[in-house]
Symmetry: C2
Subunit: 235 residues, 2 copies
Protein backbone atom coordinates (compact mmCIF):
# COMPACT_ATOMS: atom_id res chain seq x y z
CA UNK A 1 0.00 0.00 0.00
CA UNK A 2 1.54 3.29 -1.13
CA UNK A 3 2.42 6.15 1.21
CA UNK A 4 2.53 9.81 0.10
CA UNK A 5 6.06 10.92 0.95
CA UNK A 6 7.06 14.57 1.12
CA UNK A 7 10.75 14.15 1.90
CA UNK A 8 13.28 11.63 3.17
CA UNK A 9 16.43 13.00 4.77
CA UNK A 10 19.19 12.38 7.27
CA UNK A 11 21.04 11.13 9.12
CA UNK A 12 20.50 14.06 11.44
CA UNK A 13 19.27 14.37 15.01
CA UNK A 14 15.76 14.37 16.42
CA UNK A 15 15.37 17.93 17.69
CA UNK A 16 12.26 17.40 19.82
CA UNK A 17 10.62 15.42 22.55
CA UNK A 18 11.20 12.03 24.14
CA UNK A 19 14.22 10.98 22.06
CA UNK A 20 15.75 14.43 21.75
CA UNK A 21 19.25 14.29 20.28
CA UNK A 22 18.78 10.78 18.83
CA UNK A 23 20.56 10.20 15.56
CA UNK A 24 17.83 9.40 13.05
CA UNK A 25 16.58 9.43 9.46
CA UNK A 26 13.34 11.28 8.72
CA UNK A 27 10.46 10.19 6.50
CA UNK A 28 7.93 13.00 6.23
CA UNK A 29 4.49 12.02 4.93
CA UNK A 30 2.03 14.33 3.22
CA UNK A 31 -1.43 15.24 4.45
CA UNK A 32 -2.95 16.37 7.72
CA UNK A 33 -6.48 16.36 9.13
CA UNK A 34 -5.60 19.52 11.10
CA UNK A 35 -4.63 23.00 9.94
CA UNK A 36 -2.84 24.56 12.91
CA UNK A 37 -2.37 28.32 12.63
CA UNK A 38 1.33 28.03 13.45
CA UNK A 39 2.07 24.74 11.66
CA UNK A 40 5.77 24.62 10.73
CA UNK A 41 5.10 21.95 8.06
CA UNK A 42 2.28 23.62 6.14
CA UNK A 43 3.87 22.46 2.88
CA UNK A 44 2.76 18.93 3.80
CA UNK A 45 -0.92 19.84 3.45
CA UNK A 46 -1.49 23.32 1.96
CA UNK A 47 -0.77 22.43 -1.65
CA UNK A 48 2.59 24.23 -1.88
CA UNK A 49 4.61 20.99 -1.62
CA UNK A 50 4.74 17.93 -3.87
CA UNK A 51 4.54 14.40 -2.55
CA UNK A 52 5.46 11.11 -4.17
CA UNK A 53 3.40 7.96 -3.65
CA UNK A 54 5.90 5.31 -2.59
CA UNK A 55 5.69 1.65 -1.66
CA UNK A 56 7.18 0.79 1.75
CA UNK A 57 9.94 -1.20 -0.03
CA UNK A 58 10.85 1.88 -2.08
CA UNK A 59 11.10 3.98 1.08
CA UNK A 60 13.45 1.40 2.60
CA UNK A 61 15.62 1.55 -0.54
CA UNK A 62 15.71 5.35 -0.41
CA UNK A 63 16.60 5.31 3.31
CA UNK A 64 19.48 2.93 2.55
CA UNK A 65 20.63 4.98 -0.42
CA UNK A 66 20.77 8.28 1.44
CA UNK A 67 21.61 7.07 4.98
CA UNK A 68 23.92 4.17 4.03
CA UNK A 69 25.29 2.41 7.12
CA UNK A 70 25.05 5.57 9.23
CA UNK A 71 21.74 5.10 11.06
CA UNK A 72 19.65 2.65 13.04
CA UNK A 73 16.63 4.84 13.84
CA UNK A 74 13.87 6.20 11.58
CA UNK A 75 11.41 8.96 12.51
CA UNK A 76 8.13 9.09 10.61
CA UNK A 77 6.64 12.56 10.82
CA UNK A 78 4.16 14.63 8.86
CA UNK A 79 1.66 16.07 8.48
CA UNK A 80 -0.15 13.33 10.37
CA UNK A 81 1.44 9.97 9.49
CA UNK A 82 -1.40 8.11 11.23
CA UNK A 83 -3.62 8.89 8.22
CA UNK A 84 -1.71 6.23 6.24
CA UNK A 85 -2.42 2.55 6.70
CA UNK A 86 0.64 1.56 4.61
CA UNK A 87 3.01 2.72 7.32
CA UNK A 88 2.37 -0.56 9.15
CA UNK A 89 4.30 -2.40 6.43
CA UNK A 90 7.03 0.27 6.47
CA UNK A 91 7.52 -0.22 10.21
CA UNK A 92 7.68 -3.99 9.76
CA UNK A 93 10.36 -3.61 7.09
CA UNK A 94 12.36 -1.17 9.26
CA UNK A 95 12.33 -3.68 12.10
CA UNK A 96 13.55 -6.39 9.70
CA UNK A 97 16.53 -4.09 9.02
CA UNK A 98 17.11 -3.73 12.76
CA UNK A 99 16.06 -0.08 12.81
CA UNK A 100 13.93 1.48 15.55
CA UNK A 101 10.97 3.61 14.54
CA UNK A 102 9.54 6.78 16.08
CA UNK A 103 6.24 8.41 15.09
CA UNK A 104 4.70 11.76 15.94
CA UNK A 105 0.97 12.45 15.67
CA UNK A 106 -1.60 14.78 17.23
CA UNK A 107 -3.68 11.81 18.41
CA UNK A 108 -6.76 12.33 16.24
CA UNK A 109 -6.68 8.94 14.45
CA UNK A 110 -5.85 5.34 15.30
CA UNK A 111 -3.97 2.71 13.32
CA UNK A 112 -3.14 -0.72 14.74
CA UNK A 113 0.46 -0.26 13.60
CA UNK A 114 0.92 2.34 16.36
CA UNK A 115 1.41 -0.62 18.71
CA UNK A 116 4.54 -1.60 16.77
CA UNK A 117 6.20 1.83 17.07
CA UNK A 118 9.23 2.09 19.39
CA UNK A 119 8.81 5.76 20.40
CA UNK A 120 5.35 7.38 20.07
CA UNK A 121 4.93 11.10 20.60
CA UNK A 122 1.33 12.25 20.96
CA UNK A 123 1.09 15.95 20.45
CA UNK A 124 -2.46 17.26 21.03
CA UNK A 125 -2.73 20.85 19.86
CA UNK A 126 -3.32 23.67 22.38
CA UNK A 127 -5.87 26.51 21.87
CA UNK A 128 -3.43 28.82 20.05
CA UNK A 129 -3.40 26.36 17.13
CA UNK A 130 -7.08 27.05 16.44
CA UNK A 131 -7.75 23.30 16.63
CA UNK A 132 -10.00 21.49 19.09
CA UNK A 133 -8.96 18.18 20.68
CA UNK A 134 -11.60 15.43 20.60
CA UNK A 135 -11.04 14.02 24.07
CA UNK A 136 -13.22 10.98 23.49
CA UNK A 137 -10.93 9.93 20.67
CA UNK A 138 -7.78 10.83 22.60
CA UNK A 139 -8.94 8.88 25.69
CA UNK A 140 -9.51 5.82 23.51
CA UNK A 141 -6.07 6.15 21.89
CA UNK A 142 -4.28 6.70 25.20
CA UNK A 143 -6.06 3.66 26.59
CA UNK A 144 -4.87 1.45 23.74
CA UNK A 145 -1.30 2.78 24.12
CA UNK A 146 -1.19 1.93 27.81
CA UNK A 147 1.59 -0.62 27.38
CA UNK A 148 3.40 1.25 24.59
CA UNK A 149 6.41 3.58 24.90
CA UNK A 150 4.34 6.72 24.41
CA UNK A 151 4.76 10.30 25.58
CA UNK A 152 2.75 13.51 25.40
CA UNK A 153 4.27 16.68 24.00
CA UNK A 154 2.49 20.03 24.04
CA UNK A 155 3.70 23.08 22.15
CA UNK A 156 3.21 26.24 24.21
CA UNK A 157 2.74 29.73 22.81
CA UNK A 158 0.91 31.47 25.68
CA UNK A 159 -0.53 30.99 29.16
CA UNK A 160 -3.81 29.60 27.82
CA UNK A 161 -1.81 26.86 26.10
CA UNK A 162 -0.01 26.20 29.38
CA UNK A 163 -3.33 25.77 31.22
CA UNK A 164 -4.43 23.32 28.49
CA UNK A 165 -1.16 21.42 29.05
CA UNK A 166 -1.72 21.29 32.82
CA UNK A 167 -5.18 19.80 32.28
CA UNK A 168 -3.82 17.26 29.83
CA UNK A 169 -1.03 16.22 32.19
CA UNK A 170 -3.55 15.74 35.00
CA UNK A 171 -5.80 13.69 32.68
CA UNK A 172 -2.97 11.24 31.83
CA UNK A 173 -0.69 11.55 34.87
CA UNK A 174 1.37 8.43 34.22
CA UNK A 175 2.40 9.35 30.66
CA UNK A 176 5.84 11.02 30.29
CA UNK A 177 5.10 14.68 29.66
CA UNK A 178 7.03 17.19 27.54
CA UNK A 179 6.50 20.92 27.12
CA UNK A 180 7.92 22.51 24.00
CA UNK A 181 8.54 26.11 23.05
CA UNK A 182 6.49 27.19 20.03
CA UNK A 183 8.15 28.82 17.05
CA UNK A 184 6.01 31.84 16.21
CA UNK A 185 8.04 32.87 13.18
CA UNK A 186 8.39 29.89 10.85
CA UNK A 187 9.19 32.11 7.86
CA UNK A 188 12.12 34.25 8.98
CA UNK A 189 15.58 33.62 7.56
CA UNK A 190 17.27 35.80 10.20
CA UNK A 191 18.63 32.86 12.19
CA UNK A 192 20.43 34.86 14.89
CA UNK A 193 17.27 36.80 15.69
CA UNK A 194 15.19 33.60 15.68
CA UNK A 195 17.61 31.93 18.12
CA UNK A 196 17.44 34.84 20.52
CA UNK A 197 13.62 34.94 20.38
CA UNK A 198 13.33 31.16 20.86
CA UNK A 199 15.75 31.16 23.81
CA UNK A 200 13.82 34.00 25.49
CA UNK A 201 10.56 32.09 24.99
CA UNK A 202 12.21 28.96 26.34
CA UNK A 203 13.28 30.81 29.48
CA UNK A 204 9.71 32.12 29.86
CA UNK A 205 8.37 28.55 29.59
CA UNK A 206 10.90 27.28 32.15
CA UNK A 207 9.79 30.02 34.57
CA UNK A 208 6.12 29.18 34.06
CA UNK A 209 6.83 25.49 34.64
CA UNK A 210 8.95 26.21 37.72
CA UNK A 211 5.93 27.91 39.32
CA UNK A 212 3.44 25.13 38.52
CA UNK A 213 3.26 22.28 41.01
CA UNK A 214 1.23 20.32 38.45
CA UNK A 215 4.33 20.25 36.24
CA UNK A 216 6.79 18.90 38.82
CA UNK A 217 7.69 15.85 36.74
CA UNK A 218 7.45 17.51 33.32
CA UNK A 219 10.34 18.07 30.93
CA UNK A 220 10.70 21.45 29.23
CA UNK A 221 12.48 21.44 25.89
CA UNK A 222 13.32 23.73 22.98
CA UNK A 223 13.33 22.64 19.33
CA UNK A 224 17.01 21.92 18.78
CA UNK A 225 16.77 21.91 15.00
CA UNK A 226 15.28 25.44 14.98
CA UNK A 227 18.18 26.62 17.16
CA UNK A 228 20.80 25.03 14.93
CA UNK A 229 19.30 25.39 11.45
CA UNK A 230 16.60 28.03 11.81
CA UNK A 231 13.63 27.40 9.51
CA UNK A 232 15.65 25.49 6.92
CA UNK A 233 14.02 22.26 5.69
CA UNK A 234 15.59 18.84 5.26
CA UNK A 235 18.16 19.00 8.08
Amino acid sequence: MKIPVMEIFGPTIQGEGMVMGQKTMFVRTAGCDYSCSWCDSKFTWDGTGKSTAMQPEEIIQELKRSGQQFFSHVTISGGNPVLHKGIGELIRLCHVQGWKVAVETQGSFWQDWLLAVDDITLSPKPPSSGMKTDFNKLDAIMGKLDEANASLKIVIFDETDFTFAEQLHMRYPSVPFFLQVGNSDTATTDDAHLVSVLLRQYEWLIDLTACSSVMNDAKVLPQLHALVWGNKRGV
Copy 2:
Protein backbone atom coordinates in the same frame (compact mmCIF):
# COMPACT_ATOMS: atom_id res chain seq x y z
CA MET B 1 27.29 12.26 58.18
CA LYS B 2 27.86 15.79 56.89
CA ILE B 3 28.14 16.69 53.22
CA PRO B 4 30.10 19.73 51.95
CA VAL B 5 27.52 21.73 49.99
CA MET B 6 28.48 24.45 47.54
CA GLU B 7 25.02 25.60 46.52
CA ILE B 8 21.39 24.54 46.53
CA PHE B 9 19.13 26.07 43.89
CA GLY B 10 16.03 25.61 41.77
CA PRO B 11 13.50 24.67 40.70
CA THR B 12 15.03 24.92 37.26
CA ILE B 13 15.58 22.42 34.48
CA GLN B 14 18.28 19.82 33.96
CA GLY B 15 20.17 21.16 30.95
CA GLU B 16 22.16 18.02 30.14
CA GLY B 17 22.05 14.34 29.44
CA MET B 18 19.58 11.55 30.02
CA VAL B 19 16.85 13.59 31.73
CA MET B 20 17.35 16.76 29.70
CA GLY B 21 14.62 19.30 30.32
CA GLN B 22 13.50 17.65 33.59
CA LYS B 23 12.29 20.10 36.22
CA THR B 24 14.64 19.66 39.16
CA MET B 25 16.35 21.13 42.20
CA PHE B 26 20.16 21.11 42.31
CA VAL B 27 22.45 20.25 45.22
CA ARG B 28 26.05 20.93 44.25
CA THR B 29 28.68 19.32 46.44
CA ALA B 30 32.25 20.53 46.93
CA GLY B 31 35.39 18.66 46.03
CA CYS B 32 36.66 16.73 43.05
CA ASP B 33 39.39 14.11 42.57
CA TYR B 34 39.88 15.43 39.00
CA SER B 35 41.03 18.83 37.72
CA CYS B 36 39.78 18.99 34.14
CA SER B 37 41.31 21.78 32.09
CA TRP B 38 37.89 23.00 30.94
CA CYS B 39 35.93 22.30 34.16
CA ASP B 40 32.92 24.64 34.31
CA SER B 41 32.61 24.14 38.08
CA LYS B 42 36.18 24.90 39.15
CA PHE B 43 34.85 26.85 42.13
CA THR B 44 33.85 23.51 43.66
CA TRP B 45 37.47 22.44 44.05
CA ASP B 46 39.98 25.23 43.30
CA GLY B 47 39.56 27.12 46.57
CA THR B 48 37.69 30.11 45.10
CA GLY B 49 34.30 28.92 46.42
CA LYS B 50 33.05 28.34 49.95
CA SER B 51 31.20 25.21 51.01
CA THR B 52 29.04 24.53 54.06
CA ALA B 53 29.11 21.18 55.83
CA MET B 54 25.46 20.13 56.10
CA GLN B 55 23.62 17.15 57.52
CA PRO B 56 21.32 15.37 55.05
CA GLU B 57 18.30 16.54 57.12
CA GLU B 58 19.46 20.15 56.79
CA ILE B 59 19.74 19.77 53.01
CA ILE B 60 16.18 18.44 52.89
CA GLN B 61 14.99 21.45 54.90
CA GLU B 62 16.80 23.85 52.57
CA LEU B 63 15.36 22.11 49.49
CA LYS B 64 11.87 22.48 50.96
CA ARG B 65 12.46 26.09 51.91
CA SER B 66 13.68 27.18 48.51
CA GLY B 67 11.72 24.79 46.25
CA GLN B 68 8.49 24.63 48.28
CA GLN B 69 5.89 22.40 46.59
CA PHE B 70 7.30 23.08 43.13
CA PHE B 71 9.53 20.08 42.55
CA SER B 72 9.70 16.28 42.78
CA HIS B 73 13.21 15.69 41.42
CA VAL B 74 16.63 16.47 42.89
CA THR B 75 19.93 16.46 41.00
CA ILE B 76 23.11 15.99 43.01
CA SER B 77 26.08 17.33 41.10
CA GLY B 78 29.58 18.52 41.89
CA GLY B 79 32.48 18.39 41.81
CA ASN B 80 32.29 14.65 42.21
CA PRO B 81 29.41 13.82 44.59
CA VAL B 82 30.56 10.19 44.79
CA LEU B 83 33.36 11.32 47.12
CA HIS B 84 30.77 11.73 49.90
CA LYS B 85 29.42 8.78 51.82
CA GLY B 86 26.73 10.88 53.50
CA ILE B 87 24.82 11.25 50.26
CA GLY B 88 23.37 7.78 50.83
CA GLU B 89 21.30 9.16 53.71
CA LEU B 90 20.35 12.23 51.63
CA ILE B 91 19.00 9.98 48.87
CA ARG B 92 17.05 7.93 51.39
CA LEU B 93 15.45 11.07 52.80
CA CYS B 94 14.62 12.37 49.30
CA HIS B 95 12.86 9.10 48.53
CA VAL B 96 10.88 9.39 51.78
CA GLN B 97 9.65 12.75 50.45
CA GLY B 98 8.69 11.08 47.15
CA TRP B 99 11.41 12.86 45.19
CA LYS B 100 13.49 11.19 42.51
CA VAL B 101 17.25 11.63 42.57
CA ALA B 102 19.78 12.04 39.77
CA VAL B 103 23.57 11.99 40.19
CA GLU B 104 26.41 12.85 37.84
CA THR B 105 29.95 11.57 38.31
CA GLN B 106 33.01 10.86 36.19
CA GLY B 107 33.05 7.25 37.37
CA SER B 108 36.31 7.27 39.33
CA PHE B 109 34.85 6.19 42.70
CA TRP B 110 32.21 3.82 43.97
CA GLN B 111 29.64 4.23 46.73
CA ASP B 112 26.95 1.64 47.46
CA TRP B 113 24.35 4.42 47.45
CA LEU B 114 24.77 4.70 43.67
CA LEU B 115 22.46 1.68 43.44
CA ALA B 116 19.65 3.77 45.00
CA VAL B 117 19.94 6.63 42.46
CA ASP B 118 17.08 6.97 39.93
CA ASP B 119 19.11 8.51 37.07
CA ILE B 120 22.89 7.99 37.01
CA THR B 121 25.04 9.84 34.50
CA LEU B 122 28.60 8.55 34.18
CA SER B 123 30.76 11.08 32.48
CA PRO B 124 34.30 9.80 31.88
CA LYS B 125 36.54 12.63 30.76
CA PRO B 126 38.03 12.68 27.24
CA PRO B 127 41.70 13.48 26.45
CA SER B 128 41.12 17.26 26.10
CA SER B 129 40.39 17.39 29.85
CA GLY B 130 43.98 16.39 30.65
CA MET B 131 42.62 13.54 32.81
CA LYS B 132 43.14 9.82 32.30
CA THR B 133 40.33 7.31 32.79
CA ASP B 134 41.18 4.28 34.92
CA PHE B 135 39.38 1.64 32.88
CA ASN B 136 39.79 -1.07 35.52
CA LYS B 137 37.82 1.07 37.95
CA LEU B 138 35.29 2.10 35.34
CA ASP B 139 34.73 -1.51 34.23
CA ALA B 140 34.05 -2.49 37.84
CA ILE B 141 31.61 0.38 38.31
CA MET B 142 29.78 -0.28 35.05
CA GLY B 143 29.49 -3.92 36.04
CA LYS B 144 27.87 -3.08 39.38
CA LEU B 145 25.48 -0.65 37.67
CA ASP B 146 24.30 -3.29 35.21
CA GLU B 147 20.73 -3.27 36.55
CA ALA B 148 20.65 0.46 37.34
CA ASN B 149 19.22 3.28 35.20
CA ALA B 150 22.65 4.54 34.13
CA SER B 151 23.88 6.35 31.03
CA LEU B 152 27.23 7.48 29.67
CA LYS B 153 27.79 11.09 28.67
CA ILE B 154 30.96 12.31 27.00
CA VAL B 155 31.83 15.96 26.52
CA ILE B 156 33.47 16.53 23.13
CA PHE B 157 35.89 19.34 22.29
CA ASP B 158 37.78 17.86 19.33
CA GLU B 159 38.13 14.81 17.11
CA THR B 160 40.46 13.05 19.56
CA ASP B 161 37.68 13.30 22.16
CA PHE B 162 35.25 11.87 19.62
CA THR B 163 37.51 8.87 19.02
CA PHE B 164 37.69 8.35 22.80
CA ALA B 165 33.87 8.44 22.87
CA GLU B 166 33.60 5.89 20.06
CA GLN B 167 35.87 3.51 21.96
CA LEU B 168 33.89 3.99 25.15
CA HIS B 169 30.58 3.36 23.39
CA MET B 170 31.96 0.14 21.89
CA ARG B 171 33.25 -0.92 25.31
CA TYR B 172 29.78 -0.58 26.92
CA PRO B 173 27.45 -1.00 23.92
CA SER B 174 24.24 -1.59 25.90
CA VAL B 175 24.49 1.59 27.99
CA PRO B 176 22.49 4.61 26.68
CA PHE B 177 25.07 6.94 25.20
CA PHE B 178 25.09 10.75 25.06
CA LEU B 179 27.49 13.10 23.33
CA GLN B 180 27.64 16.66 24.63
CA VAL B 181 29.12 19.81 23.18
CA GLY B 182 31.93 21.22 25.29
CA ASN B 183 31.88 24.83 26.42
CA SER B 184 35.37 26.17 25.71
CA ASP B 185 34.70 29.63 27.14
CA THR B 186 33.32 29.25 30.66
CA ALA B 187 34.29 32.80 31.61
CA THR B 188 32.70 35.02 28.95
CA THR B 189 29.71 37.17 29.81
CA ASP B 190 28.91 37.87 26.16
CA ASP B 191 25.93 35.53 26.04
CA ALA B 192 24.93 36.15 22.42
CA HIS B 193 28.43 35.32 21.22
CA LEU B 194 28.60 32.25 23.45
CA VAL B 195 25.27 30.98 22.07
CA SER B 196 26.46 31.35 18.49
CA VAL B 197 29.76 29.57 19.23
CA LEU B 198 28.00 26.74 21.11
CA LEU B 199 25.43 26.22 18.34
CA ARG B 200 28.17 26.10 15.69
CA GLN B 201 30.07 23.53 17.80
CA TYR B 202 26.86 21.57 18.26
CA GLU B 203 26.34 21.46 14.48
CA TRP B 204 29.94 20.28 14.07
CA LEU B 205 29.32 17.49 16.60
CA ILE B 206 26.09 16.46 14.85
CA ASP B 207 27.97 16.25 11.54
CA LEU B 208 30.73 14.16 13.10
CA THR B 209 28.17 11.82 14.65
CA ALA B 210 26.18 11.55 11.41
CA CYS B 211 29.31 10.18 9.69
CA SER B 212 30.17 7.62 12.40
CA SER B 213 28.43 4.26 12.10
CA VAL B 214 29.61 3.48 15.64
CA MET B 215 27.36 6.27 16.87
CA ASN B 216 24.13 5.17 15.18
CA ASP B 217 22.20 4.88 18.43
CA ALA B 218 23.85 7.81 20.22
CA LYS B 219 22.11 11.02 21.28
CA VAL B 220 23.84 14.34 20.59
CA LEU B 221 22.92 17.16 22.94
CA PRO B 222 23.90 20.74 23.76
CA GLN B 223 23.99 22.19 27.29
CA LEU B 224 20.61 23.89 27.47
CA HIS B 225 21.49 25.96 30.52
CA ALA B 226 24.53 27.49 28.76
CA LEU B 227 22.28 28.44 25.82
CA VAL B 228 19.67 30.04 28.06
CA TRP B 229 21.74 31.54 30.87
CA GLY B 230 25.28 31.65 29.52
CA ASN B 231 27.88 31.08 32.25
CA LYS B 232 25.69 32.38 35.06
CA ARG B 233 25.66 30.22 38.21
CA GLY B 234 22.68 29.08 40.26
CA VAL B 235 20.11 28.83 37.46
